[in-house]
């Protein structure tokens, strides 16, 4: 069974005297069980709106969302979700231990179950060090840990994390990544939004990319970028400076390295054989020929540019 399925999920905001905003448009998405799904998009692309629809915080204008086959608006669907908002806000006068107990009660857990959950969660997120301090004075990283703790109460099979790494220091980001990987290893599904591509690229099994409220692409990173060879890097040594200059004068980009090594960057692999012959003819030696594949960042940038310039002739539609 899929953890998340959306059918034409749309959200439009209308308010008097203001322009209508189509925050999400006909999003059809499927997230499998036990995968980490990265939800990418620029600020304002509609990521938070989609997550709020999945948690039932807002109502869809059109379409619907299912959580493990149940309509997302039902409380029984929310029982299978752990949610971390982008900026987690809690009652400032409560301590992390009291916060976990409060949300545990809302999840219908018994006192004993809440005590066990505290032990499990505080061990995982190192909450013990500030367990009985009021949240009021907490830093962003500490709040994020409490927020993750709240999302983990009741051991839900699906975690919806809205920008879980934003505003965290490198150590905090690493900790969140490790927790997400640990959750997947425990059989959970993790759906997280981000605009930090490296984080997404590092841990996601699959990604979805939102552009202006539309799901512009969805799939495995290597499938999305497969076949999209960006360039060929040809590394050689033993060329004289004037020979290198003669080649770059033809518009071929180059990078100079140590010990007279030079790397030429060619847009097409077909341009490599004549250049290799030329290098050898001029006494140079070929060291490596590496195709450079498109990264997620390149693909993401291309989608944004396509949105800004729809008449452009960029690659295929991956949806």
């Amino acid at each position: 069974m899929s953890a998340i399925v959306t059918h034409d999920l749309s959200k439009t905001y209308k308010s008097l005297g203001k322009a209508t905003v189509h925050s999400l448009r006909n999003v059809n998405m499927e997230v499998q069980e036990n995968e980490i799904y990265g939800f990418l998009g620029r600020n304002g692309a509609g990521k938070t709106t989609a997550i709020k629809l999945l948690t039932g915080l807002i109502q869809a204008t059109k379409g619907r969302a299912e959580i493990f086959g149940e309509d997302a608006v039902l409380p029984s669907a929310r029982a299978r979700i752990g949610y971390l908002p982008e900026h987690p806000y809690f009652y400032e006068y409560l301590t992390p231990r009291e916060t976990i107990a409060f949300y545990g009660k809302l999840r219908g857990l018994s006192k004993d179950a809440i005590r066990k959950e505290w032990l499990r969660i505080s061990e995982m997120l190192f909450l013990d060090e500030f367990a009985d301090r009021r949240i009021r004075g907490f830093s962003k990283g500490m709040r994020q840990r409490v927020g993750l703790g709240v999302a983990l109460i009741g051991n839900p099979p699906l975690l919806l994390l809205d920008e879980p790494m934003s505003g965290l220091d490198p150590y905090g980001r690493r900790m969140v990544r490790e927790i997400m990987l640990r959750l997947r290893a425990e059989g959970k599904t993790v759906f997280f939004s981000s605009h930090i591509l490296t984080d997404v690229e590092e841990i996601s099994d699959r990604v979805g990319i939102l552009v202006s409220g539309v799901l512009a692409a969805s799939g495995r990173i290597k499938d999305l970028t497969a076949g999209a060879q960006k360039a060929v890097e040809l590394c050689c040594s033993g060329l004289k400076d004037e020979d290198v200059n003669a080649i770059t004068a033809r518009g071929i980009e180059c990078r100079r390295g140590e010990e007279h090594q030079v790397t030429f960057i060619l847009p097409e692999v077909a341009e490599a054989p004549p250049l290799i012959a030329e290098i050898q003819q001029k006494g140079g030696m070929l060291l490596s020929l590496i195709p450079v594949l498109e990264s997620l960042e390149d693909f993401f940038t291309k989608l944004q540019q396509r949105e800004q310039n729809p008449s452009g002739k960029d690659g295929a539609d991956h949806e």
Binding site: K52, T55, G56, L57, I58, Q59, P75, S76, R78, A79, I81, Y83, P85, H87, P88, Y89, F90, Y91, Y93, F102, Y103, K105, L106, R107, G108, G147, V150
Partner: protein
């Protein structure tokens, strides 16, 4: 039910920390104690004046707590975004609204008990006789506060706190003036204004029904059927307004 109790307990705890509560309680107790001053200048009537002012203080300051705390109750949760993590739990929205309401009326109950205990003790020290009507009057003030709080919660789910407080305050004033709407002078007979004002009489709850302060001050008993009727009237309006609040919040985007 457990979720409602959890939200109610937390609301009670949160409201106790609200500075508005302490300011209003301080003024209420100061007014009750200050009523002695008015007692001095009304020769032979001091006990009656103390009773009258004490009950009026409980009513007015209780209503102010209901209005100012109640009108911000749900809105504040939306504004501070604490609602995100609460409503994403497997709970129904009516459980949240009901829990918030019960938390506030528990707080009002405690506030009223403090004010009532203070004024009763004060009256006892002053040598006043305290009859059943005194406690009936306090009970009816509490029922009135339940109703006002329900209206404040309803508005808190749909408008900003300032607008909400203004509307509830108008509702409070209008609710005490419903007799005026019904007993219009003969000049209004046959006019459209009379029809409109008479309709308003039935649409706005009659808050004067809960007002037996003058009877309490003069030790004039009221019958139990009257008290039961007033309680039933208040509870019915309260339930109606609470159901409206739950419905208004049910599909609200947060």
């Amino acid at each position: 039910m457990n979720r409602i109790v959890t939200i109610a307990q937390n609301t009670f705890r949160e409201s106790i920390r609200d500075k508005v509560l302490y300011v209003l309680l301080f003024f209420a107790l100061a007014t009750i104690l200050g009523s002695k001053v008015l007692g001095w200048i009304s020769i032979g009537q001091d006990i009656k004046i103390i009773k009258d002012i004490s009950l009026a203080a409980m009513s007015v300051f209780g209503a102010l707590i209901a209005i100012f705390v109640g009108a911000t109750l749900v809105y504040k949760e939306m504004d501070k975004k604490t609602l995100y993590t609460i409503l994403s739990q497997p709970m129904k929205r009516y459980e949240f609204v009901t829990g918030k309401y019960l938390g506030l009326v528990a707080l009002l109950g405690v506030s009223l008990i403090i004010m009532a205990a203070g004024s009763t003790l004060y009256l006892k020290i002053a040598g006043a006789a305290i009859g059943l009507i005194w406690f009936q009057a306090i009970l009816l003030i509490y029922i009135k506060l339940l109703l006002i709080t329900a209206f404040a919660i309803l508005l808190s789910t749909v408008v900003s706190p300032i607008l909400g407080a203004l509307i509830v305050f108008s509702f409070y004033v209008g609710g005490h003036a419903t007799d005026v709407l019904r007993d219009l002078p003969p000049q209004f007979d046959g006019t459209r204004a009379k029809q409109v004002l008479e309709t308003l009489y039935y649409v706005i709850p009659n808050l004067n029904l809960f007002n037996v302060q003058s009877e309490a001050a003069n030790m004039v008993p009221v019958t139990w059927p009257y008290v039961f009727y007033a309680v039933a009237y208040g509870i019915s309006w309260t339930l109606f307004l609470l159901i409206l609040a739950c419905l208004a919040f049910e599909r609200r985007d947060v």
